[in-house]
Symmetry: C2
Subunit: 664 residues, 2 copies
């Protein structure tokens, strides 16, 4: 032991602090205004009682706020902390032996056993008097009588004493116990859209009202009301930059054979500019700024694509050949996955000797668009760029611009997807598109919402993307698309669709076994009949309206599955975090969703409603109010019968209302 | 980003390194000579292949040993490291992008697709040639031909190339990739008895052959052959120090009313001395030293009790009143759990201002007995002393005396028991005594052997102790005792019993509902008829002989449960770590144990042997050889019938032998 005259080391042990991502290396995620649950193991030797607190502060503030943690059994302690604004927060758990609380607890036992406590009263006085000496105002008043009785050698009237209250009072002003402290952990709070968002992706060049004409930002502006009516709040545009011509791809990804071919927007860069330029046919910076402003007026963020790769015609190829890999003959190495070759794309060499300049340039690209009002980025294939790059870029941007959100477009191995989320991506694409059976949906959502993954990984559920037309959609019809939309929009607080092909229920793949769209917009300009009676846009609008109306649907962690005795039907609920169930406030009610996974046939089943989860009791009837159809049913107890007909509805979004009704 | 001209940060990510106790704060446990599995997640961006290694060293050595880790899927890597001697080891996982391995992997794809690889050969040459330049001897020979072909512009004969081998060769001599490194973690290796031990507890004062006489160390020496015959290798003696007279307890814990009462050995200290003194009636230091030496000759460690508390007559009470808590009237505070009072015990005040002197004195006590050859301590109620105290004392002792082992006698809340193990206790008492049903045994053992708990917590299973005569034993008979011995000795690599009352199957509690023995040795001298025909000592000897003969029974982590369709029968196996199953070496064979939990009635069932666990195939017959009865059965496949009659045997310890027999 190091020789020391200081007091003995603190007796409490603090362990397993939550949230704690990868031993504290990364920040947990939260949103501003949200109550965050902090928990930890804390215990000491012997039988003494503990005082456990969590201290937290915004990283820009010096003062820590302290909140008392409550014991929840098995040596676990818990408190809720509220992160007022966006930014990084530090938090730390502290514990000390509470000699006063222990004394009071034991005094009760002694008094109950009618022991002589005269000596014990003097012990209590020694513990409490210094606190009274320091306390002022209400605290002083709260202590005075208690201490006065001890001083007079009289036993306090224990029936009137609130142990928690007086213990907190004494502890606030005086303690002799050394405090044990956990490591300091981090939580990043982002704005609410980080947690709750509705994405809509469209190709601007396909938005012209006139056939055969390249769409422009002005056309997109004209489309904004449509997007807003759908209920979207993030409008994501694939790359808007000049497109290379070298090795340009034509329709369906085949080599281009026509000068009219427009190429892939992801083949970024031409003599007209690179990642900070705008494709001339889309419009000007001014047009873009107007679009961003008009979208904002409708509560919509315009999201751009960060696709950090170049066409062979990108200005950087000649200005910064040192940012690319070269082959022994001096040529720049194009993208390959041997034996496959992608000669229209030059990957950037993140390991170049000149990595510092390259990384800075990519930060500049990002900040350039932030300067144009862009507050959301969808990041293309982040898993093919170094993790360290994102781990640096994202917080660097957010330091000055905490409103900026990043969605990771990584469809890859599980640990890699998780790592991107850990290091800072706000939201992540998921495997949802391929999870179609009840068991696998339940298993996947349980992992996402009930394990530590929920501390850092925010799923964004997309039923389709320009690269993903799943086999289920290919072989389905509009009823299938409704099922997938309903699942995405109610299982996850964030979901998105690639339109208009989604709401128009386009099902044709490039070929059997391919997940690519036939004649996909990646290589062509398309034109759509948005007014088609086949469109499920009205359904999507109702779905998204329900998401906006019900706070419960805006959170992921409270998802719970309910038993339902038919594998084609899935039932789950969401509640408002921290609420105990039924509410007279419509927005705060629990939501119970039942989906018919079979888009063709009517299915029925008995549902076994988990009453405890929804704050219901066995005897009182309650109303389930379908927000899709506005129908109401009175239910009672856990066993209730459900029947779903695909031609009528893909499912129910039930608001669970108390029998007395709700205030809308 | 910090400005820097160094190379870009390493691309691999390393996470979830195992074994890692509480984020690396504590050491994992192992035994000298054991192969320890190290695993970690490791992955990088993109498709490049990785080279992953674990480096380790004894803390006294400077040089790290590096072992290549192998990919086991899902971005997980694994290697076995061998910790040669006792002591602390450091280990760390390293990963780098392996450009040569990636190049070779891609070359295969290019060659298979008949692409022109002439440029690629030059890339490979750039990667491999610097390695050849540095390699010598066999490494040089291994590289020369490969590099020679590249140099000549000829494609290597890939059919003859072992990718792992040549990649390792190149990597050993040349790499350009920066290496990512995990944190450094610790493993403490102790001697084998830390993992595999058989304890026997007896009260020395009850060992005299003459009725009414206080037993001595010489009597214990005479008992050693009996203990050795039982198969014990740790002989644990309750406190051997002078016993206080103030507030002495008499038979069954009642206040003493007779001068003949011998008192509780845990009321340590009298005018004759304290924790370093020997109770005069037991003998001298010389007698003790002789006992320790004679035990060692039989392969037995003598274990003493570290019970850090004092009787009111302990010399420290007058020499060091500052080491105790005082009441306002100046009296020393006796032990209490209000309203209960324990006036014969003064707890030490570990929080005293003079904690440093107190803690040092307790270390001195420990080292005093180490100086007398004591290498094992059973620590009394460690959970009523500060965790920081043990976290300092144990490694301080082990630093100079790595052979010293500590068993934590804590029967308390789960997290506290785990914490004691984490901070350094070699072995721990457990809840085994109260786990009697199949489901709870399976659940408890799964936690102990299949979760991270196994990294730091070594269970020691005791069916009884002087404080614990369970209800099951009270209502059982010798058949019950055999069941409990068989479970303890085969479920856990370490087990112990408090004898002779255990082997003599004493069942009488102090009163109904009490777990205390009637007329227990804690307060009285007892005398036993070891030759009683009711003794199960012969059974215990056979059980322990099987434990010594079978390496599988000396480990905990390979425990696996097998299905058996009767809740009264439990079936489990153990295998030698790292072995793949059947062995012609008898000691290395898997062991399959089947126990009849019902000590009264015959039970039968079909067992569903997990063939994969034992390295068996579906068609080949195998022999199960009962080491308790020496009977052999030929079995085939997984479904086999078992019948167990309590009057014959409590179960089977089957050695699973290959059809060709084994070499004993």
């Amino acid at each position: 032991m190091e020789t020391s005259n200081r007091s003995a080391p603190p007796r409490p042990v603090i362990a397993d602090v939550h949230p704690r991502v990868e031993d504290g290396r990364y920040d947990a995620k939260a949103t501003a205004g949200e109550l965050v649950e902090v928990s930890a193991d804390a215990f000491a030797d012997g039988h003494d009682l503990l005082a456990v607190e969590v201290a937290y502060r915004h990283e820009s503030k010096r003062r820590w706020t302290r909140v008392r943690m409550a014991s929840v059994g098995n040596d676990r302690w818990r408190a809720m902390i509220e992160l007022a604004g966006p930014g990084r927060y530090h938090f730390q758990v502290h514990a000390r032996v509470d000699h006063f609380a222990t004394w009071l607890h034991e005094l009760r036992a002694r008094v109950a056993a009618r022991q002589d406590v005269s000596l014990e009263l003097r012990v209590g006085l020694e513990l409490a008097k210094p606190a009274l000496a320091k306390a002022k105002g209400a605290d002083r008043a709260g202590l005075a009588e208690f201490v006065g009785r001890l001083e007079a050698g009289r036993t306090p009237d224990l029936a009137d004493v609130d142990d928690h209250e007086i213990t907190a009072l004494v502890g606030r002003h005086h303690t002799t116990s050394p405090e044990a402290s956990s490591a300091v952990y981090g939580i990043r709070a982002e704005r609410e859209r980080a947690r709750f968002s509705t994405w809509y992706e469209l190709f601007p060049r396909s938005t012209s009202a006139r056939r055969g004409t390249h769409g422009t930002f002005r056309d997109v502006l004209d489309r904004l009301d449509y997007v807003a009516d759908l209920g979207a709040d993030v409008l994501y545009l694939p790359p808007i930059h000049p497109i290379g011509t070298t090795a340009r791809k034509g329709p369906n990804g085949a080599p281009s054979r026509s000068k009219k071919d427009v190429g892939s927007p992801w083949a970024i860069g031409s003599p007209e500019g690179g990642h900070t330029a705008i494709h001339p046919e889309l419009g000007s910076y001014e047009d873009f700024d107007k679009l961003v402003a008009a979208a904002r007026d409708r509560g919509i963020d315009v999201a751009l694509d960060l696709a950090f790769q170049c066409s062979p015609d990108h200005p950087w190829v000649t200005e910064h050949p040192e940012w690319f890999k070269h082959r022994p003959d001096g040529s720049i190495r194009y993208a390959e996955n041997p034996p496959k070759k992608y000669e229209d794309v030059y990957p950037l060499d993140f390991e170049t000797e000149h990595w510092h300049a390259l990384w800075s340039a990519l930060l500049d690209v990002t900040l350039f668009w932030v300067g144009h009002g862009v507050t959301v980025f969808r990041v293309d294939n982040p898993h093919t760029k170094p993790f360290a790059f994102w781990e640096w870029l994202i917080p660097t941007v957010q330091q000055e611009h905490p409103e900026v959100l990043f969605l990771a477009e990584a469809f890859t191995r599980p640990k890699i997807m998780k790592q991107l989320a850990k290091l800072g991506f706000t939201q992540s694409y998921t495997y949802f598109a391929w999870r179609t059976e009840k068991w696998e949906l339940e298993q996947y959502l349980t992992e996402l919402t009930k394990t530590d993954v929920a501390d850092y990984f925010r799923p964004n559920f997309w039923p389709n993307t320009p690269d993903i037309l799943t086999a289920q959609l290919q072989h389905g019809d509009r009823r299938t698309f409704m099922v997938r939309a309903l699942l995405a929009g109610t299982l996850a607080a964030s979901w998105g669709m690639y339109g208009p092909v989604f709401e128009l229920c386009e099902t044709r793949p490039r070929h059997e076994g391919s997940e690519e769209y036939l004649d996909g917009e990646k290589y062509e300009i398309r034109r759509y009949d948005l007014a088609s009676p086949a469109s499920i846009a009205p359904f999507i609008s109702r779905l998204n309206a329900a998401r906006r109306a019900q706070t419960a649907l805006q959170h992921d962690r409270t998802l719970e599955f309910h038993g339902i005795d038919n594998d084609q039907l899935i039932a789950y609920s969401k509640t408002v975090p921290g609420s105990s169930g039924l509410s007279a406030d419509a927005a705060e009610c629990p939501v119970l969703v039942i989906v018919n996974l079979d888009a063709r046939y009517r299915q029925s089943a008995w549902i076994d409603v988990r009453l405890d989860v929804l704050g219901l009791d066995v005897t009182t009837p309650y109303v389930v109010h379908d927000l899709l159809t506005d129908q109401r049913y009175e239910w009672r107890g856990s066993r209730n019968f459900v029947i779903l007909e695909p031609d009528v509805t893909p499912g129910h979004i039930f608001r669970v209302e108390p029998p007395g009704g709700v205030l809308e």
